[in-house]
């Protein structure tokens, strides 16, 4: 059977498994050499969630806590395009979102940071890209928060995103950051990305065209998933 393969993982873009400054990676990053395998149907297929029905409130994290009230914090609109390396848009793909609240606390029992929880903010949502690969969700700007990686360690504000793309090999979990955050150069998780340009690709940019007057600031974060090797006769999906 003929297989239209995907490009390999670009290890100049992705972090290594082991990055000593990020303490948790030391015992959890695989150490043996990865075994290369040829892509087969097993790799080039993957879950598509094509029939998925999202509740409208899933794309509005400011109001999806089921309390009828709005979350505290600075409202932001996040938009972006999901595409492959050839800039072909990836339509109808699921994006899962999670983040801390405006005070820098996660709605999660493991998070014991002494900052207020917001009963009106659960910090999780989902959206799906449209036909042009565009997504959009509304949330509040997350706060920075401390962690135990090293003395006086603080994570810069960030939002976690999880994507599937069209195949098992296009899977991506990432997080994006906000421009100008003074904690960025100090963050070992961001700095695990080996190149400056790679780290730059995890920055959202302020988007005045997305900002809505009297309502919320806009940010843009585009996402690039693995593309396909030359596929001249294939329609983009």
């Amino acid at each position: 059977m003929k297989i239209s393969e995907y490009n390999p993982r670009d290890w100049k873009s992705h972090p290594p498994y082991m990055f000593k400054a990020y303490g948790s990676s030391v015992k959890r990053g695989p150490l043996k050499k990865l075994v290369p395998i040829k892509q087969t149907l097993s790799e080039i297929t993957g879950p598509l969630f094509s029939g998925i029905k999202l509740d409208p409130e899933e794309i509005d994290l400011t109001r999806n806590a089921d309390t009828g009230k709005e979350a505290m914090g600075e409202r932001i609109i996040v938009v972006g395009k999901v595409m492959d390396e050839d800039e072909r848009p990836i339509p109808n793909t699921l994006i899962e979102i999670w983040q801390a609240n405006a005070a820098g606390r996660y709605h999660h029992p493991v998070d014991q940071h002494n900052a207020p929880l917001d009963p009106n903010f659960i910090g999780a949502g989902r959206c799906v890209t449209n036909e042009k690969g565009d997504y959009r969700f509304l949330t509040i700007k997350p706060g920075a928060y401390p962690w135990l990686n090293h003395p006086n360690a603080w994570r810069p504000a960030h939002i976690h995103l999880s994507l599937f793309g069209p195949s098992f090999v296009t899977r991506l979990v990432t997080q994006f950051f906000f421009p100008g955050d003074p904690l960025l150069p100090l963050d070992p998780i961001l700095n695990s990305v080996p190149t400056k340009s790679g780290r730059q690709r995890l920055m959202a940019s302020y988007a005045h065209d997305v900002t809505e007057p009297e309502f919320a600031l806009g940010y843009r974060f585009d996402i690039v998933l693995r593309g396909r090797k030359a596929t001249p006769f294939e329609e983009p999906r």
Binding site: Y22, S24, R28, S42, H160
Partner: protein
């Protein structure tokens, strides 16, 4: 040409966004094929089971067909079965899937691949997810599987085989994932 967006860890709080729904029951009563459970632990470099790992699997249906438009084989689709599942590890550090045994699927160069599930492993501390596969200990065709055969070291090959057991009349395959150490699971670059 654009460059790939870098991967980042799921962190310690992924369950808020990723396992807040039931996603590990993949088969219904009417799904075609043999009902099985796959379970195991994800272990760190000290051999400690991890309470904050997450496993995703993707598999063919009982006929050996993937529910995806790029699988153009003339095998039946099963409308009750997408082939995808996700499980966090629970308070006892176990992940678990209720699924069906997949059928064999075509491999590279006209080969046939033994039944397997494709696996992605995520955790706090993992900056990039790791790919592996689950094969089944009671499949004779494992001997001719091209991926298994390509791993010469038998001890390493064994890290990809889930061991069959029966418990209360149910078929359970145990598959532990070792991120480091002597028996580190084989992970793929693919």
């Amino acid at each position: 040409m654009r460059k790939q967006t870098p991967s980042q860890t799921v962190g310690p709080f992924y369950s808020m966004g990723l396992t807040n729904r039931v996603t590990n029951v993949m088969a219904t009563e009417s799904s075609q094929g043999q009902r099985i459970c796959i379970e195991g632990q994800v272990l760190d470099g000290d051999g400690q089971p991890m309470p904050d790992a997450m496993v995703e699997i993707w598999q063919a249906n009982a006929y050996g067909r993937y529910n995806h438009p790029d699988d153009k084989q003339e095998k039946p689709l099963d409308s009750t079965f997408t082939g995808w599942g996700r499980s966090g590890t629970d308070e006892n550090c176990f992940y678990r899937f209720e699924t069906i045994k997949p059928g064999p699927v075509p491999g590279a160069d006209d080969s046939v691949q033994a039944p397997h599930c494709n696996v992605a492993v995520f955790a706090r501390g993992m900056l990039v997810h790791a790919f592996t596969r689950i094969y089944f200990s009671d499949e004779q065709v494992n001997d001719t599987d091209p991926v298994l055969s390509s791993i010469r070291d038998k001890a390493r090959r064994k890290t990809l085989i889930a061991e069959r057991e029966e418990r209360d009349g149910r078929v359970i395959y145990r598959f532990d994932i070792r991120l480091q150490g002597e028996n580190e699971t084989v992970f793929f670059d693919m």
